[in-house]
Symmetry: C3
Subunit: 344 residues, 3 copies
Amino acid sequence: MSGDRRRFENGLNEANTEPLADFDSGFDTQLGFAVRAHCAPLLGLPEHAEPQSYWERRSELTEDQLARVFLPAAGVSDWLVDTGLPGEIAGLPEMAQASGGGVGEIVRLEQLAEQAAAAPGDYADAFRRILHERSATAVATKTVLAYRGGFDGDLSEPDPRDVAEAAARWRDGGGVRLTDRVLLRFGVHEALRLGKPLQFHVGLGDRDCDLHRTNPMLLLDFLRQSGSTPVVLLHCYPYEREAGYLAQAFNNVYLDVGLSINHLGARAEAFIGRSLELAPFRKILYSSDAFGPAELHYLGSLLWRAGIAAVLTGFVARDQWSEADAIRVVDLIARDNALRLYGL
Amino acid sequence: MSGDRRRFENGLNEANTEPLADFDSGFDTQLGFAVRAHCAPLLGLPEHAEPQSYWERRSELTEDQLARVFLPAAGVSDWLVDTGLPGEIAGLPEMAQASGGGVGEIVRLEQLAEQAAAAPGDYADAFRRILHERSATAVATKTVLAYRGGFDGDLSEPDPRDVAEAAARWRDGGGVRLTDRVLLRFGVHEALRLGKPLQFHVGLGDRDCDLHRTNPMLLLDFLRQSGSTPVVLLHCYPYEREAGYLAQAFNNVYLDVGLSINHLGARAEAFIGRSLELAPFRKILYSSDAFGPAELHYLGSLLWRAGIAAVLTGFVARDQWSEADAIRVVDLIARDNALRLYGL
Amino acid sequence: MSGDRRRFENGLNEANTEPLADFDSGFDTQLGFAVRAHCAPLLGLPEHAEPQSYWERRSELTEDQLARVFLPAAGVSDWLVDTGLPGEIAGLPEMAQASGGGVGEIVRLEQLAEQAAAAPGDYADAFRRILHERSATAVATKTVLAYRGGFDGDLSEPDPRDVAEAAARWRDGGGVRLTDRVLLRFGVHEALRLGKPLQFHVGLGDRDCDLHRTNPMLLLDFLRQSGSTPVVLLHCYPYEREAGYLAQAFNNVYLDVGLSINHLGARAEAFIGRSLELAPFRKILYSSDAFGPAELHYLGSLLWRAGIAAVLTGFVARDQWSEADAIRVVDLIARDNALRLYGL
């Protein structure tokens, strides 16, 4: 198998941090089946095309060409993009051009922290300055605290002296990959103070995070102190029911199960059903939360549309919901809640 | 929006302890949709009536009139009522009159503890005396330990000297809202000794409880020592599968998922399915466990009937169960198990 | 009720370690209903035969006759049998004869440890020797660490001196029922070194295990150090989604939800659906994992076949999977993955 194909198949696995084993294939997963079922026709292939055919056809296109196939097909009006990932990621202008949609930025707090570590002068001042500069045009902030120790333990605002000491230690160590709890807490509380929606990576991610330490219930004490700044719980698998509870329990908590949907493929419908339990309908948000292959931007949209249609059609068929209500809830989740929350 | 309507909408949210945010509406939840779908016709409105229409029609009726609409419609023969809630709650005679059904009382241990704190003499003696007096005509006791520190940690019977010391401290502090672990443990073990069914609030409740500290698996050590006194696990969302396991693992453990069903609305069916996994069918109990708007007494019944009918019809359609078995299991859960357990 | 019937009904309950209460019946469970629905016809009775009829007919047959009815009907080509259970269990030759299939052995590490404790000389040497002897013809090793303290806490390889000390202590105490953490860890790491698939009991089991301490997420640190030796997570209820995540996150982790399926009866379909979320399809394995009544060997197969057929038919009906893919995945889970993993 070519290195390119191997890389593509690895991109269909979210949780593993190593290359897939030789006996395995990224195509033999719910996501792999979804790629073949739904993306193949956009490349001129039959539904459920064989992996080899899919790979060959895909290889004929550049990444840019793939983006121009899959992004517009997603039917997304506004792409809100986390720009804090390492490595080569399409920038906002490229995203806008390829998709034909609007774009907005989500700034990652841990990236800002690294920039503050590299800046001269007081760390806390530098962080605040960079946060305000970077967030001036951003729609939200985001934390990957889930990957830097998880949610259990103290998440209160740290003492300024402790911040200064921790920053000095971190800078002495080179200021790379923030894992210091004090500085992570500092960043999150500064983001709360900023008032823009603050996103938390929750649950499903790669195995660098301890999944069970990202159970959103461990954020309870933090949420009790979080005031009115919106807190958005992202992904959430397998804790989507706990996250939905929190969205009901706190006026400022929101549920966005993007990313999980892609990786669940044919099971996305069941997952979407579980995400429609306790969370109030004005507190649920759609996202594709795609990372990696261009296909995921399209699949996130397609699987969500198909899944929520199936779930709500079931509610209507059993006369639990009216059709008009179902349509309205789709509009809320797909668009209206995001417009209100992110001020688009 | 009127204060009355705001109060009604808040009553459709279980988990939040604050008034709903201005942008939100209690009607835009599974429970809100269920109210409009199923309660509107009982008020002479079409199914899925608009919130404003529903509210206007509802406002024309007094609470007593609403109770006389919704309680008899629930088709419940015996109402077992937790009388330990603070605030103005309908008493047992009012309940009997409005519903046309029989009533039984469930006494809340933490309320008895407050009465014992206010009584003269030895606390333990006072608690035991009040417990025996109050429970003489009651069908069960109940603990809200879930709200007073949760289930993790020691739940063994405390030493009498420790009880006396803790009681003195609590009385000195005014004897309000019991959170002392020693006295909570004392109350629960006295209730075990009494032998009447002992109910535990488990899972779903407002955010004053740490939901993850109410995972019923944390009761394992307690249950291993609990002897033959029946222990009923109430509500249980999102731990209904763990609770079902415990109902299989212990002869004296029962599962009652009331309350959760109301708040899940159209998703109650999926939840009822999950509650029918490991729990033996003679250990599962129906309840509406309504609190707040009169509608919930009716909805608890309607959603359970619709949900279990759909789930069991599915079992029968796939030839996993016979129709006669399905009918018998409905009778067990709806009635026969409660008659046996509570001695009605 | 006869002692024999009582014993049979107790065998339909997995979690309880005591005899069922007088008011209860093992027939009034999902498994009991499945026995009546699916096993009755093999005994010449109508589907859903009454418990008394079923019991009477069953009583006419010896255990050996029952095995010759139910084992071949399971349609299983290879029976991989854990031989480490206490008490009278059918041996491998009897299994082969009754079923008409091939057999393979799974050796239980904690049983080997007891043999090493009883052997002369150095404990570690004895354990290694016995492990190599016993596993020479075995297909896998298995640990019931879940029942001996669970997964939380240190699972790293212990220091040889600590092993020697712990072994001396255990031998002094009689060398019965291993619960010493150091020796448990030692056994598991020796099994890793052996390189044959290592099975972990996870989740559902009797109440001697603390179910929440068998959440497979607690194995994360262990799995991060486990190298390339295959680790198979068995049973997994109610943690099947967490286990599926681990099967995606680690090249050497596999998912086998046998045993749970039997006890879920008509709900096995929903459970099988949940087990088909994140786990790659080449990492999922079928087993009946029957223990106790001969019926369970057949039911494990029947319920899995019916459940996966229903789930995958749903995927195909909604055009998420092709029919050819569905057939291929059934073959992977039912057979091909096991052939590759266990080298059958």
